[in-house]
Symmetry: C2
């Protein structure tokens, strides 16, 4: 692609650094910015710049926060006896958006993956023991990837916390609502038959 | 989607204003910015801000420019007797990227479309007559959409310029290279048979 303006070229170049954005998409975005008022573009770049400069990570749960501690950890209305352990900030948004969970979170920042050089030191695991102990959490809900790495991480954390009176659970795996049986992988289908539920709990989940 | 950070929420909101960007894609981009160094994000927002603030439109051809006149119009090495008339800046980039055209451009800013309230006054048409006359252009290549509106625009411009000794041509329509006959629409296929070329010109185009 040949540009007649260095300003446009630089802007396209910067947009292409984002995931899944090729040169053509980047150009479409730049031309959209060009159609917007200068004040709107200032708002756009200002919001992104502020976000990157002012964002903080909660010193308790490592979630993104606008201050030292995130809005979940400071909220006395949330259930401080439950901690949902997730890999990333994105998982916090996903769980929170269900509006069915009112406990706390703990963001690991990834999962154990020796092949990628990710050991316990690279993750927010060491702080978890102290946190569970100090707030007296009684349940740790592991919401990690259903992979070997995810399972390894669950077992590792369970071993680290075995001296504490905390129950460790994992989120249910099974056929998704609206999912069709014939397209489910065999492992998921087998597990979902083995872990079948009495019909009362099914009805109450749908009725919720 | 529920966010625990106003900073993140605002950034996602701003990204969603771009064409084809939904909330999920916007979040992916914001998280990518979060992973980048502060200095890299400053470069990103700086390039976009500079682009919007400092961009100018060439006073001769209305293409984007970094100064009063664009790099094509000031370049004595380009063929000043040919002007390629296009709808948008994006079309300039497309034609220029072929590296087969060395004339000048004229960006209309759209095409005549009475139903959308776009008349000659909304487009950069009035300046075209003076421009053709003053630089003594001998050919105007119309590279507009192959639609009724595009054809109307071509005829309108041709009528405006009929007192000047300038040849008006349109770019060739036909089956695209690599395109399969069975998928071509009937009008294109019919036109491409009617406007068939002697084999010598075909060979020279491929050999180029």
């Amino acid at each position: 692609m040949i540009f007649s303006s260095k300003l446009i070229e630089d802007a396209v170049q910067e947009f292409s650094r984002l995931p899944g954005i090729g040169k053509k998409t980047a150009l479409r975005m730049v031309l959209q910015l060009l159609r917007m008022d200068v004040s709107e573009v200032d708002e756009f770049t200002g919001a992104l710049s502020r976000m990157r400069h002012d964002i903080r990570f909660c010193k308790q749960c490592h979630n993104v926060a606008d201050s030292e501690v995130c809005i979940f950890c400071v909220n006395p209305g949330r259930n401080h006896s439950q901690i949902c352990v997730v890999e990333t900030i994105r998982d916090v948004i996903a769980v929170e958006s269900t509006q069915q969970y009112s406990g706390l979170y703990h963001v690991l920042g990834g999962i154990l993956s020796p092949l990628d050089g990710i050991g316990p030191e690279q993750l927010n695991i060491s702080t978890l023991h102290d946190r569970v102990k100090s707030i007296g959490a009684t349940e740790l809900i592991m919401a990690l990837s259903p992979t070997i790495e995810g399972d390894t991480t669950v077992y590792y954390i369970a071993r680290q916390l075995k001296d504490l009176p905390v129950t460790i659970t994992t989120i249910a795996r099974g056929i998704a609502f609206g999912g069709e049986l014939e397209y489910a992988d065999e492992m998921t289908l087998a597990r979902s038959i083995a872990k079948r539920l009495p019909i009362e709990s099914y009805v109450s989940m749908n009725g919720k």
